[in-house]
Symmetry: C2
């Protein structure tokens, strides 16, 4: 039986890693020869969860063809966010909670997407549908993913299904949801010792919008000023990234996870479209976005509309 690699998106967040681990486990229980891998190093937040639940970080890969032709994607579908040789691979299944775009297969496949806050919430349902018991450490990674993606249920992407799954998983994982949740989120906001380049790459995805290539990065913090004090350094790094990677536009969302709002920092073309998307005027390349915490629900659709 040929091996099947299971992975989340590039620049993996806790859901990309947690969903890969839990979906690979589920599929193994269902008789498939799966291995969870990752397209990048776990963030400090994810590493906190891995350490807490004593789970090994998945092996990091950048291509698959040298070892297998068969893959399963979690927490993403857009090819530019996936493994480098995705177009030459057979995608057996996808479990995701994002919009669908830049995705194509030659054959029918298993695809399960739901408009919920976290991929791990969907995987939780699949464990239940298949009557597979979730081990404590897998449940721990899954509940960590839900806490991370929903910012402990504060994100507008959070649904009743996410809350229900998180509560059930917290019981299995034997954690206090609020206590563990805040510790997990804070573990991801240790920004001071990171270079501007690292900050921009912590949670960044590329999107073709209209005829523009747009990079949208997000950093979480408990103190906006800690990041904004480094504006000059960040702008220089964004300019350099645009040039090196042919991005037309770099959008950085700096999110205060305690207050649930964000500051926008933008470098590149089509600034007018960004202003239109959010109904703001940029001053000093910046704008305050009240109540905005979700790239998926409060940033990407608005930019897609403005660029279309």
């Amino acid at each position: 039986m040929s091996k099947i690699l299971v992975f989340g998106h590039q620049n993996p967040d806790t859901d990309a890693i947690g969903a890969a681990i839990s979906f690979a486990y589920l599929q193994k229980e269902l008789g498939k020869n799966t291995e969870a891998v990752a397209l990048g190093t776990p963030s400090e937040e994810t590493q906190y969860a891995l350490d807490y639940f004593n789970v090994d970080a998945p092996r990091i890969v950048s291509s698959a063809l040298n070892e297998t032709k068969e893959v399963m994607l979690v927490d993403h579908n857009e090819f530019q966010q996936s493994i480098s040789d995705i177009k030459e691979l057979t995608i057996l299944s996808v479990v995701d909670h994002h919009r669908i775009a830049n995705f194509e297969t030659g054959d029918p496949l298993y695809y399960r997407a739901e408009p919920v806050g976290c991929t791990s919430t969907i995987i939780y349902k699949m464990f239940k549908e298949n009557n597979i018991t979730i081990p404590l450490n897998i449940a721990g990674m899954m509940v960590s993913a839900i806490i991370s993606d929903t910012l402990l249920f504060k994100s507008p992407t959070c649904t009743e299904d996410d809350v229900e799954a998180a509560n059930a998983l917290a019981d299995i994982a034997e954690i206090n949801l609020t206590g563990y949740g805040l510790d997990l989120l804070k573990a991801g906001t240790n920004l001071s010792d990171k270079t501007a380049e690292t900050l921009l790459d912590l949670d960044a995805k590329s999107f073709p919008l209209g005829d523009k290539n747009v990079r949208i990065a997000q950093v979480n913090t408990v103190d906006l000023n800690e990041v904004l004090n480094r504006q000059d350094e960040l702008e220089a790094a964004m300019l350099a990234e645009n040039k090196a990677n042919s991005y037309d536009l770099f959008v950085l969302i700096i999110t205060n996870i305690l207050d649930s709002d964000s500051e926008l920092l933008v470098i590149g073309d089509s600034i007018d479209k960004v202003e239109k998307a959010f109904g703001v005027k940029l001053t000093n390349n910046r704008a305050y976005l009240e109540g905005v915490v979700s790239r998926k629900k409060q940033v990407v659709p608005q930019l897609t509309e403005a660029f279309s």
Copy 2:
């Protein structure tokens, strides 16, 4: 609550109509304001099922924006097979069993695809998962769709899930699966009174393959010669269709549903790629394809590969 239109692909077959009717019913039971509609007239096969189970044919529409912005797709996802204004609509959900291509949304959605023989098999699972009782006439349309898509379980696309769903639905619908099944399939093979243009349009879909626009049509028969005797007339109509619709290539698959094989008739560019796809030499624009009955599994992937 705004209305949601539910529909299958253009040139609807029994699954496109049956899945729209059953999924609209399921979603209505779940509290949504759905209406099943169709993007074309039911085939004679489908009309046989509608008459047998005393179900009204869905209203035919060609666009949606004039009445609603929200839609749910069944049995297809590729935009060129969908409603004319699909790009301006909000797709709330998709239930399908085809490859995914030429499909894109701005927002997360519910997407459920499985590599099974029929969309109605997936919808049967969703009824069960949601504990919704399936009425006799809805079950009748669903089992008709499975019979149609799997050619009464003979197609290589047919899975254990399809057989299981069909048996359960046949019980609810109070039919003998084999007896009703053969009657249903034969109702769709009454070709003699149809023009060549009508034959080509009975079950036809467009696919962008490489940089070519390829039309792939299929007709079912119980006697290949009944169709092949009309080769000249069919070729003239295929040429005219290519010209009128800018198809680079027209591929017609004439399938004997009793013997489970097909004859291929091809008009247009890139004939060499068709020969490569199926490992045959065309003679007089034709080739015999032993054991080929499924466009989805035995034609589209092979052509996709040859054109890529």
